[in-house]
């Protein structure tokens, strides 16, 4: 309990012969560096948000205390003032705290990589330390893992990290959607040989493995079914590595992948696969909900509400119902299983609370239905409301007779007028645009009685953030077929549509034209300079988002750019198919992201046809492209035939276009025959494909 006295001895000890009394350090990164919790995190950092009515960071700190940590360095960026204040006031800053905690704010940290570089400069780390983010919920004892790590360090000097992983079934609720990664482990499933972050979009892109890997390890275990707890025992050699590689941002995607890919480092990373105990990280709203679910159901014992981590007075009753003292329940109110109710809350007549979490001093009206709703402190909910699995933040006021669908987020202090129906995707906040200049866009929705709310929309400008947007929902869409196939665009696709409906924002003709022009130019430029397809996707997305363009526009621009690129490349008849094949193959991910259904295929083909009209070798090209798209499964026979049969869009066909179409005649005929041959099979397949979408 006297860490200061111990520090002296820690200094004396050598680097590798770890003396048992060396101070055990932990680094918490109290920033997620993403926006999945917007708009709530506009006002409060994620780690201070209540989870089962206790701030998330408390769980992390308790977990580290359980692990016997003696010194904590807490790095924060966003809302650092709030975090500093919270820690200063908490029990962890008192003399009785099991560890010393130091809050470090640096304006320059924008990623995990920045924190590690900062750490390297600060020279605060002397020994191997525990690296976690500020949103871990876990009850595993770290001692055993630390012991294992130390033993390994003595045996293998190159071991620089032990990661805690958990096996999890693919459709588990707590599995973060859209965060998939492939781990390649050795025979004994101890050493991590390779890490590959799996992008949702191009699941078919090949994965590169170091050549020597296969030779050195004849037996490997490929596993995608891991929940990465983001709890790492990290060697003190790691922060300097980050300094060396100044472009490393992410601890997994960049660091882990990079260190294992590069033979030069010769470093090894090990995995600790949990067999018991609970560990989870709140990475998104979906995992927030899932972990709350687990906490209520005592998976995280002893860290459940009735442990009263934060000086509460929760009592547990059968059926996982937790009630604090001074809860006022009307006689006819029904509290069903898995509910948490904070002190000072009153619940009106005939109200049904099932699986809901309610904070302190809330007033719930009469005849209200709360199903899995997450209500924070001081919320007022009027009579006859019905709320689904949504988040209602502090001081929000929901008028009488409102319906809030699952997945909605009502941020701090928002007032919802009587009788409003709030859809799934709604995010309301009171924060004004001024504070959020960079990218957040807001629409003011003025309600009848001059009360205004701001609807939060996040305009994403890079691919990662788009994925995050798709993870933002409390209810990420349940994808039916293959888990790893969530399309990014599935969610994004809805947004433009919604925008149009909701706010009647018209995208004028000129806007669409300017998007076409810009997209065309940027794509053509990228193709000519042979940029990677990822960059193209990124640019195109950015343009699309900023111009609020439809996907059909995207297809048109792409078709135009691709055709003019191909035409410029082709010099003779011979290399036609070669050029077409190479180009289409390269752009596969791009096409994948704009084709969702049969109509899209037909449309794309139509655009291509139109672009080819009047061009030299138009017909041949059409056939080549059509064939290639067909072979790459970008088009199926249905789409092809649709294009063939239904002619070309509203403009009709010009004679030149007809000429182009005739060029592809032979191919289409062949497809038709194929289709008839394998009629039954094809049908099944196409059905499946439709399901996928």
């Amino acid at each position: 309990m006297a860490p200061t006295s111990k520090r002296g001895s820690a200094k004396k000890t050598g680097v590798l012969e770890e003396a048992p009394e060396a101070l055990l350090q932990a680094v918490i990164i109290a920033d997620s560096f993403n926006r999945r919790f917007r708009p709530i995190t506009l006002e409060k950092p994620r780690c201070l948000l209540p989870l089962a009515n206790t701030p998330i960071i408390e769980y992390t700190l308790e977990f580290l205390a359980l692990g016997g940590v003696e010194e904590i360095l807490l790095y924060c960026h966003a809302h650092h003032d709030q975090i500093t204040e919270y820690i200063r006031e908490s029990k962890w800053s008192k003399d009785s705290s099991p560890f010393q905690i130091r809050v470090i704010y640096s304006p320059s940290i924008m990623s995990v990589g920045d924190v590690m570089r900062e750490l390297d400069q600060s020279r605060l780390i002397k020994e191997d330390f525990i690296l976690v983010s500020g949103d871990i919920v876990s009850n595993i004892p770290l001692q055993g893992i630390l012991k294992e790590h130390k033993a390994r360090r003595l045996a293998d000097k190159n071991c620089i990290m032990t990661s805690v992983l958990r096996e999890i079934s693919p459709r588990h609720d707590s599995r973060p959607r859209g965060e998939n990664a492939l781990f390649i482990l050795d025979q004994n499933r101890e050493r991590i040989l390779h890490y590959e972050y799996l992008k949702q979009s191009d699941s078919e892109s090949p994965m590169l493995l170091p050549r020597e890997l296969g030779k050195a390890f004849p037996t490997m275990s490929f596993q995608e079914n891991f929940l990465d707890c983001c709890i790492d025992i990290v060697s003190f050699e790691v922060p300097p590595l980050f300094t060396e590689n100044f472009d490393w941002q992410h601890s997994r995607k960049d660091f882990l992948h990079g260190i294992l890919m590069d033979e030069l480092y010769g470093k090894t990373v090990y995995a600790h696969i949990l067999k018991s105990g609970y560990a989870g990280r709140i990475q998104s709203l979906q995992t927030y909900d899932a972990i709350l679910h687990d906490i209520t159901r005592k998976w995280t014992h002893p860290f459940s509400p009735d442990t009263n981590l934060n000086q509460q007075t929760y009592k547990y009753t059968r059926g996982h119902i937790y009630k604090e003292s001074k809860v006022i329940l009307a006689q006819s109110a029904v509290i069903k299983d898995n509910s948490i109710i904070g002190s000072g809350t009153s619940v009106g007549d005939k109200t049904i609370i099932s699986g809901a979490t309610i904070g302190r001093n809330c007033i719930i009206g009469k005849n209200v239905e709360l199903h899995s709703t997450i209500v924070w402190d001081n919320v007022v909910i009027g009579d006859n409301c019905s709320l689904g699995n949504c988040i209602i933040a502090n001081e929000a006021h929901i008028g009488d007779g409102c319906t809030v669908e699952s997945g909605a987020i009502i941020s701090f202090g928002v007032t919802i007028e009587k009788g409003t129906d709030i859809p799934t995707t709604a995010r309301y906040t009171k924060m004004s645009t001024k504070k959020e200049k960079e990218s957040g866009r807001f629409t003011q929705v003025v309600h009848s009685k001059t009360k205004s709310l701001i609807e939060y929309e996040d305009s994403e400008d890079d691919e990662d953030e788009q994925r995050e947007a798709s993870m933002g929902g409390l209810y990420a869409p349940e994808d039916e077929s293959d888990y790893s196939d969530i399309s990014d665009f599935e969610d994004d696709d809805e947004i433009p549509g919604k925008r149009k409906k909701g706010h009647a924002r018209t995208s004028s003709e000129s806007e669409a034209d300017s998007f076409f022009r810009e997209a065309y130019n940027s794509l053509l430029g990228a193709l000519k300079q042979s940029h990677s397809v990822d960059i193209m996707i990124l640019e195109l997305n950015g343009l699309r988002m900023s111009a609020n363009a439809e996907f059909s526009e995207v297809r048109r621009a792409t078709a135009a750019a691709v055709i003019s690129y191909i035409v410029s490349k082709i010099t003779s008849n011979e290399n036609t198919s070669k050029v077409v094949d190479a180009t289409v193959e390269k752009l596969l991910p791009l096409f994948n992201r704009m084709i969702f259904e049969v109509n899209d295929q037909a449309e794309l083909l139509g655009y291509i046809q139109r672009e080819l009209a009047g061009k030299e070798r138009g017909g041949t090209l059409m056939q080549a492209i059509g064939m290639k798209l067909y072979n790459e499964d970008l088009c199926d026979d249905e789409g092809l035939l649709k294009w063939w049969n239904e002619g070309n869009g509203p403009q009709g066909e010009t004679p030149e276009m007809t000429k182009v179409r005739d060029g592809a005649k032979a191919f289409v005929k062949w497809v038709e025959e194929q289709d008839e041959d394998e009629d039954s099979e094809e049908e099944e397949e196409s059905e499946e494909e439709e399901d996928d979408e």
Binding site: P98, G144, E167, I168, G277, T313
Partner: protein
């Protein structure tokens, strides 16, 4: 055991650190440890709380006899804080009440007139004048306490009309220092075992002797002591600390004292069914094994204890040691509770035939069993108890087969509380011990509850064996009174 081993030796660390930090900080440290369940078994909790109270009392600003009221209040407040940290660990309340009893006893010993520490001190003078009224109470309260032990109970004699203040005052007047009386009583009650603790008997006699001169003036109501010698504001701290240290010794010796009864309860060639893995139970069986040859049927206690069992069955060599008796000494001193499996291993090594059965086999085996032996988590005032989950089923089954259920426990586990709402006293543990969390089908669709404890009503228990003798559940309230007197401290 695997899991338990991985936790830091939290208790050892706490016991070491408690002397070097301020009492307030030590309280918070212990609160944290209890909340994180780093200290779990009732024995360990009791040890930690006793040590903390020792530190607290030795640092408290109230040292004088006249300040005893303040000390009692402080200890109560401390007790409330620790109990709030783990309300289901009733042992905390027991220890705090015991210490309160020690303080009151010291007050009484130092100055019999002032001894009723619950009296507001301001009322000391007026008390002298009013003592005549109360003398009836005191007078009827026999000094030796053996003849009519319950006559001092306040509820039976005080009318319900009085306001609560008056009630509690009177109650406290009727308070009898616990230790001397309970030990005297032991001499007379703990008959089942003639060998029972010579030590204790000597103690009892000693107390009888020591009490004699002090109790006398009490019987003849009056101002005798005050007139004999002027009131001295004595420093009671040292004596209280001495008392707490005795309590700590009791916690150390409890297993041996309980085990001393084993020979009278386990007979040759008996088949004993055993549930639980407490060190007390282990010592009890070990001691019996020295002289008797018997068979133990161990219940697996799935799921909270079973994993360790299976581990051991896979690799038995790890746990078996040739010298079982030495093992006994070692294990008794160990901090972590023994698991079922460990106990099995050591029992086998001393030559007891041990059979491990799953919980589901209990009814099938019950008809062949002579006796069911259990450890316990806490014993309640009305003779019911809270113990390992599954115990109630076992006890009920035993009742059906008319097999006696015998529970071994240290007297420190005896709580003066009454189970008005037994459910609230039960701890619910990790769901993951029942179903693997990775099993999404189950996690998503099934509600899983894993109570780690069971409430066993007194009707299902036949006999309690404590370190101060054997009791039937119906008679336990006497022991409660001896331990805690009539002081009714609300700590929860």
């Amino acid at each position: 055991m695997v899991v338990a081993d991985e936790y830091p030796p939290a208790l050892a660390k706490f016991l070491k650190s408690v002397t070097s930090v301020k009492a307030d900080d030590a309280t918070e440290i212990l609160t944290g440890l209890l909340k994180r369940r780093e200290i779990k078994s009732s024995r360990n909790v009791a040890k930690a709380v006793t040590k903390l109270l020792l530190r607290f009392v030795s640092q408290n600003r109230h040292t004088k006899l006249s300040e005893s009221q303040g000390l009692i209040k402080d200890v109560k407040d401390l007790g409330k804080t620790i109990i709030a940290a783990q309300p289901r660990e009733l042992v905390i309340g027991n220890i705090v009440r015991r210490v309160l009893g020690i303080i009151r006893e010291e007050c009484h010993d130092s100055n019999p007139l002032l001894g009723f520490a619950d009296l507001p001190l301001g009322g000391r003078l007026s008390r002298a004048s009013s003592i005549g009224d109360e003398s009836a109470d005191l007078g009827s309260n026999p000094g030796s306490g053996t003849a009519t032990p319950y006559s001092g109970r306040p509820f039976s004699r005080d009318g319900g009309e009085e306001d609560i203040d008056a009630m509690s005052r009177r109650k406290s007047k009727a308070y009898i220092p616990p230790n001397p009386r309970d030990l005297t009583r032991q001499g007379s009650i703990a008959l089942p075992n003639p060998n029972f603790g010579e030590n204790n008997l000597q103690h009892a006699l000693f107390f009888l002797l020591r009490l004699q001169p002090e109790e006398l003036p009490n019987d003849s109501p009056g101002l005798k002591p005050q007139s004999k010698e002027p009131f001295q504001d004595k420093d009671i701290r040292g004596d209280v600390i001495e008392g707490i240290k005795e309590l700590m010794d009791e916690l150390e010796l409890v297993d041996e004292q309980v085990a001393a009864h084993s020979e009278t309860h386990i007979h040759a060639n008996e088949i004993v069914m055993v549930l639980g893995s407490s060190p007390t139970l282990q010592a009890f069986l070990m001691k019996a094994a020295v002289k008797r040859k018997f068979t133990v049927v161990m219940i697996e206690a799935y799921p909270n204890d079973s994993r360790a069992t299976q581990d051991v069955l896979k690799a038995p060599s790890k746990f078996t040691t040739p010298t079982g008796l030495k093992q006994m000494g070692k294990n008794a001193a160990k901090d972590e509770p023994l698991t079922t499996a460990e106990m099995k291993a050591t029992l086998t090594s001393v030559g007891v035939e041990t059979i491990l059965i799953p919980d589901s086999a209990v009814p099938a085996v019950m008809s062949r069993v002579n006796k069911v032996l259990m450890g316990t988590h806490v014993i309640l005032r009305n003779g019911s108890m809270i113990t390992t989950a599954g115990a109630r089923t076992v006890a009920r089954c035993a009742q059906e087969h008319s097999v006696p259920v015998v529970v071994v426990s240290g007297v420190y586990k005896l709580s003066p509380l009454y189970p008005f709402d037994p459910d609230s006293m039960l701890e619910t543990g990790e769901s993951s011990t029942v179903i693997g969390w990775a099993d999404s089908e189950m996690v998503g669709n099934a509600e899983i509850i894993n109570p780690t404890m069971d409430f066993v009503p007194g009707e299902l228990v036949d006999h309690y064996i404590t370190n101060v003798g054997g009791y039937t559940p119906q008679n336990l309230y006497k022991l409660v009174e001896e331990q805690y007197g009539n002081a009714n401290d609300t700590l929860e």
